[in-house]
Symmetry: C2
Subunit: 345 residues, 2 copies
């Protein structure tokens, strides 16, 4: 797969996954490299972002966005370089943030592209800490979570791009931050590198006891990105007036049926009432697009001053995308997961 190839490798949705997605749900195809018409540009994908929300696009259940059609290329955020240009607004070699999906090349008329310059320091950051995950962490925590100094914040997927950012911003705001992650290694990283006060392994046999002990003053903000068992454990620990921004429910995305069990919904509603709790779902660009500049200014400064740390896991080659994505839903990645699709020009 070199710049001179005339092929466009791409991954299409072959069938809708039931439960965890597998290789058989996708098809790696080789198409002709597209040719930009007058006014268009050819985008060369350098980085493809993999994010949990993509599981929703593979299903035809009603959601906040339309599903990907079977036999269509899977969607996804990308960082691309302009390889050919028939558009005066774009120069060859220029970097852009795009949404060209799981493929090596795409054409665009330039609409909706965010320019990243000709020599960006960390172009892939536009898919992570400076992009959707970072922005989601920032607005969900600060606008809905509204943390006050001294509050206890709990966040799961603590070393993922959202959780790691939530926790570090929480520390900057003077809060006590408790992370939850899926391995001892991740927990160590959250405490030693990210500065979390505690981080608890949800696979530990005494997870519930550990979380209760760590949250001895209750929980003021629970940043919800996983759902399931973790939420059940958090619910009775929420303090009066707690806030629960809901940005994702990763533990539920592969669920094929709703588990039986006692009526936890009534428990939740009773808790919301008695403790005057606010829970609020949000979709980052729908709700907060008008505040992106505020976020970008703050985050740029924090990164520059090394107040926020950011970890990426880069997987080489489009052909490894399906395996990497399946692992993402199981918590196998460590840091923001991106696929390196092509070498830069």
């Amino acid at each position: 797969m070199t710049a001179q190839s005339n092929h466009n490798q791409r991954i299409v949705l072959a069938s809708r996954p039931v439960g965890a997605p597998t290789q058989s749900n996708f098809r790696l195809e080789s198409a002709n490299k597209p040719t930009p018409a007058q006014g268009e540009i050819l985008l060369r994908t350098i980085y493809l972002s993999l994010d949990p929300y993509m599981r929703g696009r593979m299903s035809d259940a009603k959601s906040y966005a339309d599903p990907v059609a079977v036999n269509d290329v899977m969607v996804g955020g990308t960082v691309c370089q302009v390889e050919q240009s028939n558009n005066d607004n774009f120069q060859v070699g220029e970097w852009v943030l795009a949404y060209t999906g799981w493929q090596q090349y795409a054409v665009s008329d330039g609409e909706g592209l965010l320019k990243l310059g000709t020599e960006p320091t960390n172009p892939s950051y536009a898919l992570g800490i400076m992009g959707m995950p970072g922005f989601t962490a920032y607005m969900g925590l600060l606008d809905i979570g509204a943390p006050k100094s001294g509050d206890t914040i709990v966040v799961a997927a603590a070393t993922g791009p959202v959780g790691a950012t939530v926790g570090q911003i929480g520390k900057l705001k003077g809060c006590r931050v408790i992370g939850i992650a899926g391995s001892e290694e991740k927990c160590r990283y959250a405490k030693e590198e990210l500065g979390f006060d505690e981080c608890i392994n949800h696979k530990a046999a005494d997870f519930v006891e550990q979380l209760n002990t760590a949250c001895d003053k209750g929980i003021d903000v629970y940043y919800e990105n996983v759902g399931g068992k973790v939420f059940d454990t958090v619910l009775p620990l929420l303090n009066t007036g707690a806030r629960v921004p809901i940005c994702g429910l990763v533990s539920q995305y592969n669920a094929t049926s709703l588990p039986d069990g006692p009526d936890r919904l009534s428990m939740l509603m009773g808790t919301l009432l008695q403790k005057r709790i606010k829970m609020q779902g949000f979709i980052i660009f729908d709700d907060y697009a008008h505040r992106y500049n505020e976020f970008a200014t703050a985050m740029t400064a924090w990164l520059k001053e090394d107040k926020i740390k950011y970890k990426e896991q880069v997987v080489e080659g489009l052909e490894n995308t399906v395996e990497a994505f399946a692992g993402l839903l199981e918590g196998k990645n460590f840091g923001k997961l991106v696929i390196k699709v092509n070498q830069p020009l």
Copy 2:
């Protein structure tokens, strides 16, 4: 029970109800009429308010307020007249809003009493439309529900003191208001007298279909005061960005165990996320005491201009309190339920 009696009839909690409260959970006692000491006043209860939250006080489950101890007088809001005064701030015959509970008389040092004047037009309104239920309706709808003109509002217990006020304020704000109530008579009243656009009988066999039809543009604000089956029906109808103020869960107050069933909690969380919905519990005086004057000013004007209608159901005699309260939890009352405990002086 005349003004000259030396007895104080009172109702104490004899045992904690399991499920629906019955007569055997209470004891009607006759004590001596209390004598006010220097600086104290004797309060003669004229009206006792009965409200669903009292069911919570009968249980020792952890809640936002301490339970009533067994053998103590049941708590409750009252409108009283001063029958004797050893306190220069209070004159005999003056009316006050108090919290003296299920009894004919009580003494007070005056602290926490709200003066209602010497000849109030509708003294019992202080327990309803001008008091806790009216204030709850107003702040929950306007502050958390934040209705915009053209929104669809759904409220259950539509002829109760909270629901009726929510719906009428919703109409004043230019919204489409759908009520839910427990009889055809109540539904007629909600539409013909209160001006609701629709009101649906939740005991109708085709309740779900009727609510779906009435909410053909979805639901923007669901004012939650009942929980249970009604919430299940409302959940899939909530629009993107909907708001759900939670002021009560009456249908659950007598529940002795959580029903088994599919995991509706996961459904709720998924809905909150995908539709970016805000749910928020609130306890009226904890959250909004500082805005009581704003409410009182608005409501006084609305009542004067006949823009808001208010219905009371007055039951005569303290001895009928338990039966009336049990009926309240089953939806048997029609309008704000108060007990007339004594005749005015």
